[in-house]
Subunit: 205 residues, 2 copies
Amino acid sequence: MPTDKVPDIVVGRLPLYLRTLNYLIEEGYEIVSSHELGRRLGISPAQIRKDLSHFGEFGKQGAGYDVKYLSSQLKHILHVEGVWPVALVGCGALGHALANYNGFVTKGFEITLIFDNDPAKIGQVVAGKVIHDVADMPRLICEHGIRIAIVAVPSSAAQATVDVLVRCQVRAILNYAPINISVPPGVQVQNIDPAVHLQRMTYYL
Amino acid sequence: MPTDKVPDIVVGRLPLYLRTLNYLIEEGYEIVSSHELGRRLGISPAQIRKDLSHFGEFGKQGAGYDVKYLSSQLKHILHVEGVWPVALVGCGALGHALANYNGFVTKGFEITLIFDNDPAKIGQVVAGKVIHDVADMPRLICEHGIRIAIVAVPSSAAQATVDVLVRCQVRAILNYAPINISVPPGVQVQNIDPAVHLQRMTYYL
DNA sequence: TCTCTCTTGTGAAAGCAATCACATACTCCT
DNA sequence: AGGAGTATGTGATTGCTTTCACAAGAGAGA
Ligand SMILES: NC(=O)c1ccc[n+]([C@@H]2O[C@H](COP(=O)([O-])OP(=O)(O)OC[C@H]3O[C@@H](n4cnc5c(N)ncnc54)[C@H](O)[C@@H]3O)[C@@H](O)[C@H]2O)c1
Ligand SMILES: NC(=O)c1ccc[n+]([C@@H]2O[C@H](COP(=O)([O-])OP(=O)(O)OC[C@H]3O[C@@H](n4cnc5c(N)ncnc54)[C@H](O)[C@@H]3O)[C@@H](O)[C@H]2O)c1
């Protein structure tokens, strides 16, 4: 029973399913049951079946799911069959780590443009890419048709950076600055703040 | 009407409230309403009031919340009044960025021990701390009474690293390896995987 | 072929979470 | 001092998510 309107919370789990399926492929699995997948993810088998049922029928009764097939279907659903070009803004300590991270390409992303506003950094080469002046960001992002950006600038510069990105037609932003940024409707934002994650755990200590 | 058993999802929002309150303090606010706080966070005022009501009555009718007071109360609830010593395992590109990150201390954390298994790195000084051999991890973590660790090792080493940490009485783990790790009940885990966050957004593009 | 076992996909039920709406109470202004 | 305006805290309600439970399909072995 395909796509009515899929809850965000379901969409949020699909990348986790996909990640685990790809590990299963590496391990040589050809078939996996919702039970085994759930065991690895700490999620109930029923929930996995229900989640997938939003998009179609991918399994075979009595057997389970063909791992490669389900992986390819999830890539299709998530629009990561190809490789999205991504802009990285802010090439400090964290930006360097991200630029050199080799885990993106197999997941459907490649950092193709890097920006900073520090004259000492502009022109330097990081991970095979030149660091561009943020002043050139509108032009370059437009020319490359970039839709996705990673923001790794100081908090004080984050909102202004995001505003520029949004004007450049960027529609998905991964924000590392520890601040709440605001964007117009239709622009996706995901935030990563390790301090927030740590504080979520200390409550229980 | 204080603490019955607070839902995890409520606890998960408290660090966001705290973060925003601290920005409000910097901006000179003394009082804030649930409406204004909600506007900044993209959360409904009613939800904020309901969340806080799990822990007590912090506001004043007709006025709002005393920003400093509420901040201090949230710090108390989240057990981040002091500074937790944290172990960092894996001092590669990402580990370096984390070790040098100055945003932790004001949030209640300080990386006090750094470990790696690369002989070329062991003994080097990063952010004023010596990189220790992972072989010494059990002893040092025990001696320092560390309860919180950040894992920034390759995926292939993550589960084994976590197993050691758990045996050393670490009870909260922030995992950057893009893999699902399993831990015994009572151990908190939070995962950060930028590729997962990006894939959550591409669905909507 | 028939039976037994396994696993999916899915309505129904149960369990959680978010929102509503208002009594209550505090502030500010005249 | 008193009234108008404002914002909290919370029971009731609505809405959403997860789990349950089972019919139906697939394969394996006798
Ligand atoms: N280092 C970490 O591990 C870490 C962890 C969590 C969050 N963060 C956050 O990520 C962001 C970057 O952290 P970092 O450690 O790399 O800091 P950093 O100071 O090393 O790097 C910031 C970079 O952004 C550049 N920059 C500043 N303003 C800019 C602008 N307007 N446009 C473009 N570039 C600009 C600076 O020149 C610098 O290169 C910060 O918001 C920080 O709070 C970092
Ligand atoms: N670089 C990034 O921006 C980024 C982003 C997301 C996730 N990650 C993940 O974070 C982890 C680290 O990434 P990185 O880019 O720093 O990789 P890296 O290869 O630069 O660093 C890994 C470090 O871990 C050390 N190490 C390896 N095995 C170890 C062990 N058993 N015990 C202790 N130390 C060990 C290595 O010596 C190295 O110093 C990886 O799992 C990676 O997938 C990195």
